[in-house]
């Protein structure tokens, strides 16, 4: 049973549909990320869930009850904003207590609950400070406490980490997931940072031009992208173009690329051009030919870039470029110099066929 459901939700700005019949089911306690480039409609969708924007079509239900016609103050949702949006004229305590005061909770209970919430975000002792006296990370934790203290039905996080520096961002995202799992709250996390989404989500909804391209677990999104957009947006990819030499009846084809022949599981017809993607870390290279690399082809190392744990090799074969990321523990980068010829190969199942017709 889904807890939060979006059904054919539409949003139009100036006659342009920015969210196009979007449907999504989210289970209770699940953390789902909306991931996509800017302008994909992820924040618009979040604002419709929160009630800051009206839906122009479709419906939104929480726990089986429609909420899309309710004003934002009646939706019982907790939201954390990108720029924290703390009340500057209130102390940390007053900020967190605000939602409870509006709910006319008894003063003594407010005190207990605010204390609990601040403890949860590790900010006990900061009650009397004003927001401007806190660092960005601390402000965002206050914002999280303020949203959670009212025990909302859904937690909405709008790019909550993008104003923090890289190191703090990682710490904060782990903290957010810890708290989210502890509280067990259904959560939507909007981000444009794929690493963030991959790291914390139960499921990711990849969005593009107002549509959800794919909803899946992080591993499935990364390893089995269903659309070209997803494969290109998540992680890096090499584009490979090849020609079908022979099409077999068992949905396999003998392909020709980089001056080499390879049998790939794909349905196509003889002589057609087929596009593939392969992730740089799935491309393997070796100096000598081995058992592993019996289908290998030779390519020339054009550039070598040391990236710490791995080394990136820009390869050229048969006038096509190929990027390979090789772990430095697998292959010592000192063994290979720019200009060397190396054997290049991959597991055929790591080739992702493109659905795009060119």
């Amino acid at each position: 049973m889904s807890y939060l459901s979006l059904e054919n939700v539409v949003k139009t700005f100036n006659k342009t549909e920015v969210v196009k019949k979007l449907s999504l089911e989210i289970h209770k306690g699940e953390l789902v990320s909306f991931l996509g480039p800017s302008g994909c409609g992820k924040t618009t969708t979040l604002n419709m869930i929160a009630g800051f924007l009206e839906v122009d079509g479709g419906k939104i239900e929480v726990d089986g009850k429609p909420v899309h016609l309710l004003p934002p103050n009646k939706r019982e949702m907790g939201m954390v904003f990108q720029n924290y949006a703390l009340f500057p004229h209130m102390t940390v305590y007053e900020n967190v207590a605000y939602g409870l005061k509006l709910r006319k909770v008894a003063k003594s209970e407010i005190k207990i609950r605010v204390q609990e919430a601040l403890e949860m975000v590790r900010l006990s002792g900061y009650e009397k400070r004003y927001p401007k006296e806190l660092s960005g990370g601390q402000q965002q934790r206050v914002s999280l406490a303020r949203a959670l203290v009212i025990k909302p039905k859904v937690l909405l996080l709008d790019e909550p980490l993008s104003n923090l520096d890289a190191k703090l961002r990682q710490e904060m995202r782990e903290e957010i997931v810890d708290i989210q799992k502890k509280v067990g709250i259904t959560t939507i996390f909007v981000t444009h940072d794929q690493e963030e989404a991959l790291a914390i989500s139960d499921r990711i909804a990849v969005m593009y031009e107002g549509r959800i391209e794919q909803v899946d677990t992080p591993a499935a999104i990364y390893n089995y992208p269903k659309t070209d957009f997803v494969s290109q947006f998540i992680g890096e990819v090499n584009h490979i173009q090849g020609k079908v030499l022979e099409a077999y009846s068992d949905k396999r084809c003998k392909m020709h690329f980089f001056g080499n022949e390879q049998i790939v599981a794909i349905q196509s017809v003889k002589d057609s051009e087929v596009h593939f993607f392969i992730r740089p870390e799935k491309v393997q290279i070796s100096l000598g030919k081995s058992n592993e690399s019996k289908e290998a082809f030779l390519s020339k190392v054009e550039r070598k870039m040391f990236l710490g744990a791995k080394t990136r090799y820009i390869l050229r074969a048969n006038d096509q470029h190929l990027v390979a990321d090789i772990s430095n523990t697998v292959l010592n980068p000192n063994q290979i110099q720019e200009g060397n010829n190396v054997y290049t190969f991959w597991n055929p199942e790591d080739l992702l066929p493109s659905r795009m017709v060119r």
Partner: protein
């Protein structure tokens, strides 16, 4: 040595500016203490006679009360109108917005004599007699632009997600306005109210055209009195006006801090 000269220059310029600004006030305050029958500076001898003599001139006290009432009414209404208008101008897009902004701001550009004449014509046309209400209405037109200037400044850069956060936590639009928006732009609103109060309390040119024999504001009273007599009562009344304004500023400073009121930061 090299750095000392510019600093000396800077300090002397500051001193000059302050002297120039404050000297007239000091002159008025001191001349009100003179024992002579005419206004003179520096005062000859020291006495509070010209203050006690005000008791024989109840018309000054009447005008003083009237001026304060008019200034309070003006400040209150102009601040309400100016604040709401600022919200509309900053946050909404509507047809003719620029025209309205220019129109509302125009009293700042029109000479107040012209504005006074226009008001006189207009009031006689609609049949509005000289009254505190007529004064308040005129002063509202005069002061709304000040309020708007200050409130608009405090609204620029206002992060509206703060209001969304309040709504999200369960606040309706009234609560959002009074508990969140207004406290955040408070400094601009209060500064606007002070400006409106002082502008109204101070106004001579516009009031000259509206007053009648029984509705006379303090600046007009001083002005007309001076046309016939030139005794130090004028300076004692003026001194009271100055001291009143200073006292007002001190109270506000105590309650809010003038630094806070006149800075755009929260």
């Amino acid at each position: 040595m090299k750095k000392k000269l510019p600093k000396l220059l800077f300090n002397s310029v500051c001193l000059l500016v302050y002297t120039f600004l404050l000297a007239p006030i000091v002159v008025v305050l001191l001349s009100s203490l003179t024992t002579t029958e005419y206004i003179v500076f520096p005062p000859k001898g020291l006495t509070l006679r010209w203050y006690t003599e005000l008791v024989d001139h109840p018309e000054f006290m009447q005008s003083f009360t009237l001026s304060i009432l008019v200034a309070f009414g003006t400040a209150f209404i102009a601040t309400a109108i100016g604040t709401l208008a600022s919200l509309a101008v900053v946050r909404r897009e509507f047809r003719g917005k620029t025209a309205i902004v220019q129109l509302v701001g125009s009293p700042l550009l029109i000479p107040s004599v012209v504005f006074g004449v226009a008001l006189l014509q207009f009031y006689s046309w609609i049949g509005l007699a000289a009254s505190p209400l007529a004064l308040v209405l005129g002063h509202i037109i005069l002061t709304v632009p000040f309020v708007m200037r200050l409130v608009v400044a405090s609204l620029v850069g206002f992060d509206r997600s703060i209001e969304q956060a309040a709504m999200n936590l369960g606040a309706g639009s009234w609560k959002v306005f009074f508990q969140i928006t207004l406290p955040i732009i408070k400094s601009g609103v209060i500064a606007g109210a002070i400006f409106a109060f002082i502008t109204s309390f101070d106004d001579l040119t516009v009031a000259l055209f509206i007053v009648s024999t029984d509705v006379v504001t303090l600046p007009v009273r001083i002005y007309t009195y001076m046309q016939y007599q030139y005794d130090p009562i004028i300076t004692s009344v003026s001194s009271i006006m100055i001291l009143f304004t200073v006292a007002l500023m001190l109270v506000i400073e105590r309650v809010l801090g003038v630094g806070k009121v006149f800075s755009s930061k929260n």
